[in-house]
Symmetry: D2
Subunit: 381 residues, 4 copies
């Protein structure tokens, strides 16, 4: 056995839902990926000193801290993991990269195009210095979706013509559900669009290897006001969004995202139809992939737990299914492996920016009653 | 027992796929609907004398004929059933109504708005004279969809917010499939749009009791040329269409129709999400309806074969499922019952026209790159 | 086109559930089976003159009668279809065969082994005179099950090792459901066993081409008394039965039948596992067959509506599903075709007897606390 | 916040499949169970010094060791986790208990009844001294199955009448798969029976709170010889087993276990039918539970990821599914919580013994061609 790479020191900024999920990933990545570098869970950062200390203790971190800038100065931190709300992504990620830390930032990359573009510029400069960055579209690491991508890339469904994606949740279906920061534009940027459609657009790029070139889109806020702590407030983001997208490869993609689909909890459904086959996936049964390959006539339901399926080898024997958290563990392990190899991890900040551009086009179209809007491809990508 | 109503004499014009299905319906309607008038299967009409005679014999008709006008003069014909291609609907239906025959016309009502409007005008005049008409949106008679409508109408899913419909077939996915009249605009009018989207739009109106007011739409012809008998020909209709529709009740409807979805045979999927529940249906499993009612949190899978479910009582005991053909049998029985009661059957020609107007808006939007188009509601409806 | 065979005159004895279903079959068989002889729906026979006359009228029969023996003397009757309760099967079927009528008898063949054996003896003698007979195991004519048999016969799942069958209904789950003749041994013979297990045992023989050689079995009556018209009565048949069966081909079959499985309406589930593949079927979705063939690793879900699938060609285009009633229509058409060709239809009365022998062994084992009982193969078969 | 309980030191004996899965559980238990004591992953024990050292490093253990007895003497070890093959369970578990260590032993409890009984006697004596023990039937900690148990216990499906369990795998379906120690009686004790049926029998006891009193059973070895390293060897354990079991609550349980069910990977399917409802579960989709409660008529498909579902609260928000590994994490967290509270964890060694007694009855029945065998209930339980 060759000498294993040295363990990397990690700091996670943020300890809420995503901070907890990423902590889980760092705690497990090395165990489920033979040959990857080990991880030192060094610091968990949050604003409330007591709360973050308790979380750090529970989630396996050696220390906690309240000032994210403090970790940038430490030599024992190699990776900064940005799990703060979207409007803070740019500030933290840019500072960390400039301090020479590798960075992984949660999706979506940023709340504004300007921030996203600045993050990309910084990431490019850092890359020249061997400092790497990644955006956290974790569903690229669902084994079934990674397998789907392999099938498309290998031509086993032929030329892709149509993609159907729906990401359906129901946590806002009840009109009496209270106001939250997620429903205010100033803090959340957008609603289902940034939260759910970002994953979907990333999957289009991931699965097809194609870019979205134009969109028609509609958005709706079905419950325009909700009860807040200080009385009734306006909801200023979308509850649901619909878009029909064209790609540069000639495919048409229909996408619907919503937080109002009663009885659907986390239903990211993806169907890809090609000239020679088709694929079908549902996140609520994320270990299965329905495949129709090489001109077959019906779907086979594959339990994606075989040793030769992507990501499975480090986990359990066939038939022993993975959970949602495995996507983060796989993501962390991929990042560790890339850093050990001195390679750029994917998806890059550029990938994050490409998604943002599509979301911006969707918003622009929705403002014009769904009229067609081309995706601004920028000057640099 | 009261005296049963006298049997009605029926003529079917056309003996291809739809003529066969309607023949099946007339042969069975009285047997599966206690109390409905009997049926005399009088004449089957087609252009090829030998072929239509053989079909008439096989399908249970007393006679065959080659001139559809001949049946209009016969006193023993009460109902004329129009199963000819769409560009002939108007001529046959109008003549039959004017001859005092009740008419049922296959969907879509006509290939052009002008024809559809003329058919409606004729139907209205005939109605004044006690002569009735109906358009054959047979999926209104799927028990599960009729049950779905009851649930919506009873408020059991609350206010409808989102409807997702996809009608996916794959019989043109293979680029080497040959040219047919269905792929030429002059004969077929449109492609997946008229054939499949017409059903879907009718279901929106049927299930919600709402009208579509505006659309964004995209269409595609993925295989632009196909081999015909005399060489390569251009395909001049759509292979697939996508539209996002708004209704006058505030709902948004996403619709995708295609003949290119490999591995999907006749997959009309309908999902309806309301403020207090949801419904889900798939035509490939047409005896099931998934229901989430009255604020429940998950779908119940109902086998729609109970005696108190719509249409089931005349058929078989619980658990004994119906086939696709039952939709036509139920449709014929409903028409018979309406005629016996002197009532207007539904859906009416006006319903057919309302669907055509939405399809016209979809085509108009698709021509403008998906820009928003309002549905012309006409002056009379 | 060759001259079609002359139409056959049919009489159905019995007009309840099975009489209605068989009437439907005779009304439609010729229309859905090109080339089969036509059918004259001549006489429907029942004890209540008014009721049977009304039923005859509704179901398309030319006449009705109250004495089943009267039809045996008529020259215009070629086929006698026995839809009376099981304890009358032998008397009617034997008389009809001796009168030179072809006979189809509903399943199970008879209530006692003695009757079944006598029926077989009569059928054999009649066969010598060109008079044919058939027992109505209609599920052999489910296209998906006929396709399953083809796959097994072609060796596409290898040697069959294990078969899992469950036939689950729930119409007696409610302990307050009233007493009926079906729950008395003297009229019904047995409970779930004769009604449901007979189908399952026939499928084992049909799908595998193997004979059951021995069984262990348990039966239960979970609700031992029910309210009858004249007070509480004992239920004297089984509510549910379980058996593990061995076949002469080395397979083991597990079978469970019940009328107490809450939420299951007519769930005949069949799974066949072989050395090189597997098959899976559910009667509540009877147009689908899950297939794993030729050493594949997962199930493909096939919609059995393609033209090259068994029985489909005479019906509708791909994707247009059949109902439960189609099994009877296909059965009638097969009988007509066999008679036209002068061939013995299947399944024969011998097949019916073979099933009875297995049921008898199951009952014997259940009486001995499940101890092993060999199936008596008789002397003649 | 109260003072958290002190962290417990753990040693795992064995580092193969189960050792890896249990390591995962210890690494994560505290993070996913607020309030539980922390865990010190102290020692991983195995026979190959280099291999176990590498495994310890990868799986997060502070040390490794080659002699399991060495850990019994250490004061920093509170819990000994027995993941060695079954024939070693008794020796390790008894020594550990006698050394005052809490013990968790993998299932099945032991390979012989004598060993199992001795383990129970030791566990009882240890319990008097405050030393606790547990057997690892991890599927009790599937949230969906824990929810199922709650529904049964609350009477929401009424009196349980029928239970259907199948545990289907296919890793031996290929006759050319090689010989392993799992297929020799001397090392494995039994085949599918001990490996798979033990889980199923435990679930019967867990879900119903009833004891199995008698069985009929059949076993088969479909591939009697396989290629080993030194030539062809006899397979001396069962490939598949079938049993019909009675419980002391009047229910009948059908059980089928196999390693030969082509296309089924880890399909533990459980159906429970009661007088007032039903439940349905499949391990390959382990986050779902189909429920028919309180006299309802159809199954609702529940995604068991809500905060009020068992075990979910410590994990992720609704809709974010768990994997197979979560069952071990939940099990470890339950053990930690019980130890912190000074309570006996469940299932106990007595539970493990109760399962062994049923398995012994199944083997005895199978040897007698399936004749009925009563379960020996022993003298003490």
């Amino acid at each position: 056995m060759s000498t294993p790479p040295p363990a990397l020191g990690v700091a996670v900024i943020g300890y809420a839902f995503m901070g907890k999920a990423h902590s889980h990933a760092w705690r497990n990545a090395a165990a489920l990926r033979p040959g990857a570098p080990g991880v030192r869970q060094q610091v968990l950062v949050g604003r409330d000193a007591d709360a973050v200390a308790a979380a750090a203790d529970q989630y396996g971190w050696a220390e906690s801290a309240t000032d994210w800038r403090s970790v940038l100065e430490r030599d024992d931190i190699d990776v900064v993991d940005v799990c703060v709300p979207g409007h803070l992504h740019a500030e933290v990620a840019i500072a960390a990269l400039e301090a020479g830390k590798h960075v992984i930032a949660e999706k979506p990359l940023a709340n504004t195009m300007a921030e996203a573009e600045k993050m990309v510029a910084t990431a490019r400069a850092a890359r020249e210095r061997g400092v790497h960055s990644m955006v956290g579209f974790n569903y690229r690491r669902v084994p079934a979706l990674a397998l789907a991508r392999q099938h498309v890339a290998a031509g086993r469904i032929g030329d892709v013509r149509q993609v159907r994606i729906a990401y359906l949740q129901d946590w806002l279906a009840d009109a009496s559900a209270p106001m939250t920061w997620r429903l205010r534009r100033e803090t959340a940027g957008s609603g289902a669009l940034g939260d759910l459609a970002s994953h979907a657009v990333d999957q289009v790029r991931f699965l097809l290897g194609q870019e979205v070139t134009g969109v028609n889109a509609v958005t709706r806020t079905f419950v325009p006001q909700r009860a807040g702590a200080d009385g009734v407030e306006d909801v200023t983001v979308d509850d649901a969004a619909w878009t029909t997208m064209r790609t540069d490869g000639g495919a048409v993609v229909s996408l619907e995202v919503t937080r109002m689909a009663t009885a659907r909890k986390n239903a990211l459904g993806i169907e890809v139809y090609g000239s020679d086959g088709a694929l079908r996936f549902d996140l609520e049964s994320l270990n299965h992939l329905d495949v129709c390959l090489d001109g077959a006539d019906s779907f086979s339901r594959v339990l994606v737990t075989e040793p030769d399926h992507p990501y499975v080898d480090g986990w359990w024997p066939p038939g022993h299914v993975l959970g949602w958290d495995a996507t983060f563990t796989n993501q962390a392990a991929d990042l560790l492996a890339a850093l050990a190899a001195g390679q750029d991890p994917t998806p890059s900040f550029e990938d994050g920016l490409a998604v943002q551009r599509v979301l911006a086009a969707i918003e622009a179209s929705a403002e014009r009653d769904g009229d067609h809007v081309r995706v601004d491809r920028g000057v640099e990508i």
